[in-house]
Subunit: 298 residues, 2 copies
């Protein structure tokens, strides 16, 4: 692999940029970024890479294109890419939901061009190139989406690339991906947004200065509820069928909890609370979170 | 203040013990602990204080008693305390909900004895004396509950005590306390338990190995959902009226979110997501959480 083009240089794009540069994975890294504010930041931070003014310049010189924009930009980008792309250049992305993107790629991308979707499970509540880190992907999972017509050769190139970035690679289908992440990521984000919204609604009525007392639990949720709104709107819309089902399951369980609480059903509550506890130790064992009480923050 | 008795020496009790000893706040610290396993741990860790075999021994020699047991133990403890207590000794506790405890104290505590409730907003998903820390209360709020007949003199003694422990003190009524914490603490915990339970239910059906991919959001909730089950059962039961209302508000909002997602209501979703983001910066500004992306854990 000689050159790479990164389209969209926010938190994820700039983290990839930093990592690719640090590990000297390619000769040239091209950056296409439409936000003037982000370009100013990239220049001020003296990040590596060549900022290209036109997509054409980046595309014709690159072996791999990584689309790191919100998913709602994909269609527009594809229509532009189509003008310059050849089958020699592989395309990937870092989007958090996959079925809807598959449809858009199938519908709009020029025939014979290879786009294999990726989803690195890495991110943060902050966004923008100033927050990128070269070790953002270290030890994190990266899901690569395999479709019927995905070429083994290209899959291997992409898997090799993500491993060099520091990720652990797993291959799955878009359907399975979107189901899994509706539960482990999309529902948790929605729930966090919804909890903070409910606290705000309550505060509007009562004016108790609630937020002052958020260390008792709410603060944990507020982190996730501070995530980028464009990115999350896209995820919620793109994976709406699975998320809707997840909401239904969640509400059903919450109503049962409420019933247990109101009837003081000791046995049922204790059983649930002991059961959920086990997930934490599993998560720690699987190295998906830090092994310190309170995230080690105090 | 000469001597203090701590009843129940788990995470909170042992943190108080460590702090009182470190700052040399009193001459003698008595510990009454009914769990043999906890007593073994206290001895093994060589924690300070005198372990008393009977409540009487601790009570008759102390100016302040701090009840650090689960709230479901209060009635039993009160009935024992009544045999030895005099009006000179002040009692407090560290329970997380207050209306129900007020009722129990009023109903069972001997006339003329002073129990002023406290609630230090400090804790962790881990429990037991081995996890206590002398700085657990540093800069954290401690709510002191004022009732109609609370003596100003005793309130001042207690406020002074918590300040020496490192807390910032605020005085309020039980009703206001229970409303505030139903939103900032009790609902968040219930939601976290419920989310993890829903993920478990989903996994039972699909066997996707979900937990492996929990870094996308679920892991944050799993921390809170690993909290002590006895403590949280007591809170859910004791504050059930407020928690029920909070659940109703939460479900109402979640159904609206679902509607917005399914109808792809861009304007409404973006408005909500931008709105909730503001709470995070408020929390950071009020020093209720660490000012680093991702809780600084990566």
């Amino acid at each position: 692999m000689k050159n790479i083009l990164i389209i969209g240089c926010g938190l994820l794009g700039s983290s990839l940029l930093r990592r690719i540069h640090k590990k000297k994975l390619v000769k040239k890294i091209f950056i296409y970024e439409k936000s003037k504010s982000n370009i100013r930041k990239i220049k001020k931070l003296k990040l590596p890479g060549i900022i290209v003014k036109t997509l054409e310049e980046g595309i014709i010189n690159s072996d791999l294109i990584i689309v790191c924009t919100p998913m709602s930009e994909y269609k527009k980008i594809i229509l532009k890419i189509n003008n310059f792309i050849s089958a020699k250049t592989l395309i990937t992305d870092i989007g958090s939901s996959k079925i809807e993107s598959t449809k858009i790629i199938k519908k709009f991308l020029k025939r014979g061009i290879h786009w294999i979707q990726s989803h690195p499970i890495a991110g943060s509540e902050v966004s923008g190139p100033e927050h990128g880190k070269d070790n953002l992907f270290d030890g994190k999972w990266c899901i690569i989406i395999k479709e019927k017509n995905t070429l083994r050769k290209n899959l291997n190139i992409l898997a090799k690339f993500w491993k060099k970035i520091g990720s652990r690679v797993v291959v799955m289908k878009a359907e399975k991906h979107d189901k899994i992440f509706s539960i482990t990521s999309h529902l948790p984000h929605l729930i966090a947004y919804n909890l903070v919204k409910s606290a705000q609604d309550f505060e509007k009525k009562q004016s108790y200065g609630l937020i002052k007392y958020s260390a008792g639990g709410l603060r944990d949720f507020s982190r996730i509820a501070a995530s980028n709104e464009i990115m999350w709107r896209d995820i919620f819309f793109n994976n709406k069928t699975n998320i809707s089902k997840a909401i239904d399951l969640f509400i059903k369980n919450l109503n049962e909890f409420k019933k247990d609480i109101n009837s003081k059903n000791n046995k049922s509550i204790i059983k649930k609370l002991i059961q959920t506890k086990k997930v934490r130790s599993k998560i720690i064992k699987l190295k998906q979170d830090i092994d310190e009480p309170d995230f080690g923050r105090d």
